[in-house]
Amino acid sequence: MKLRDMRPVYVIGIGLHRYRPLSDVPYVRLGLTAVRAALADAGIAWRDVQGAYTGATRLGMAVSRPMLRHLGATGIPMTQVENASASGSSAFRLACMEVAAGVSDVVLAMGVDKPAPVKRAESLAGLPSLAGGHIVPFTKYALLADEYMTRYGASPADIAAVAVKNHRNGARNPFAHRQKERTPEEVLGDRPIAGHLTRLQCCPVGEGAAAVIVASAEAVERLGVDRARCVRVTASAQRSEELYGPKSFDAELTRETTAAALADAGVAPSGVDVVELHDAFSIEELQYVEAMGLCGEGEAAGRLRAGEFDIGGRCAVSPSGGLLAMGHPVGPTGVGQVAEVTRQLRGEAGDRQQPGARTGIAHMVGVGAVCIVHVLEGPAPQGEAR
């Protein structure tokens, strides 16, 4: 069943703790900062929240209650969610499902994380590989960049331009890990990591927290939440990797998951005003805007150069700064995307506001491999019927 055919679900509150390099501040404090901000943003109390999902990947077992008990022990269900980079997106999806199904009226989806060593389960599958531990995410994306450049004649500068745009956006985001504009020369001349990817084309993985509160229409009414600031979640799609041969599985997964989400929401790619996507590495944005149908195959570099994906362009891509500049603390990342899209659709994004934004999508991929896409729709402008 489509989310849109179930009970309507609204984002009513958002809150963040800035993404930043690892500090000695306990995760509990990071998480509480985000949750308290989300409650204040919604104008509701903790006792109004009926369930909580927490995305986290490197904090160990049972992260929720040691943190959330400090809001008052109300006995609500609390569930930890791990889905690699998409952990926060999964937490949000589960919260939306719970409200849509009528199980709860008000649910918290949050993410909190801190850098720490992590073991990937795939390495425990007992199967050998040809390159083993040599192939880490940036290696894989450096290979995809080489393949993309060969296929479409793109240049290193075309790929670096993604990072230039997203660092520019991140410089306007007080919650971003990286808040500094970078010139193309700085991006291209930065420390080489793999292939054509330099350090500034790879996302920073630090600490942080993000929180989003979703609610039913009944709860919005009952709690007196400002309807003009409620953003409806019109689709939630999640898929896992199939067999794609030599094609980029991230791009193929993105293609089918985004298509499913947009179809469920009844939105064409041309109707999307704001996109937050998984730009952990600069090359990904070029591949994903094409896979999402925001432009044709091989056209992304030219459209980016023409400013179509800038704030103020045809469709703002990663106005938060994306993973490249806002950062990728992993557990919070997918929730933070929803917070940014919500801010944009409310018209509250300040000097990084995409003018007239009505429809937005949040997209994450995670190793494993999974992809999650949500479509959000902003409140109708004054005087217009929903």
Partner: protein
Amino acid sequence: MPEPHPAAPAAAIADPRPSGPPDLRGVACTACGRVAFPAQDLGCERCGADGAALRPAALAGTGTVAAAAVVRRHDGPGIDAPFTALAIVLDDGPFVHALLDGDGGPAPGTRVEAVAAGTDGDGAIVEVRFAVSGDAAGGAA
């Protein structure tokens, strides 16, 4: 304290041939025809068949570079950078990531072949790299 998940001993992944590059140890599914690397008996990724339906398959250690990247840094223990990572379409079908035996970044379309880079005590090949092959100019299959 014991490691909760002790590392498995390196598994044999290729077998030498009298001449030419070693064969890679792959798997063929007799139920659906899928050919894949590495060898495994857990179940076919396309159709789910397991057990006797999965047969060992010797894959020719030849293929074509789809992409290459010179890796300048790596945080993993025991891994020294730089090295060159390759994406290769094997002539027998599977798409694999592997390491270049040599320096630089061969252009997509370059022909490569497997070379034994490490053997266990019994002479089985447990580490394979790929080198640019003699027929570099020729027939990207």
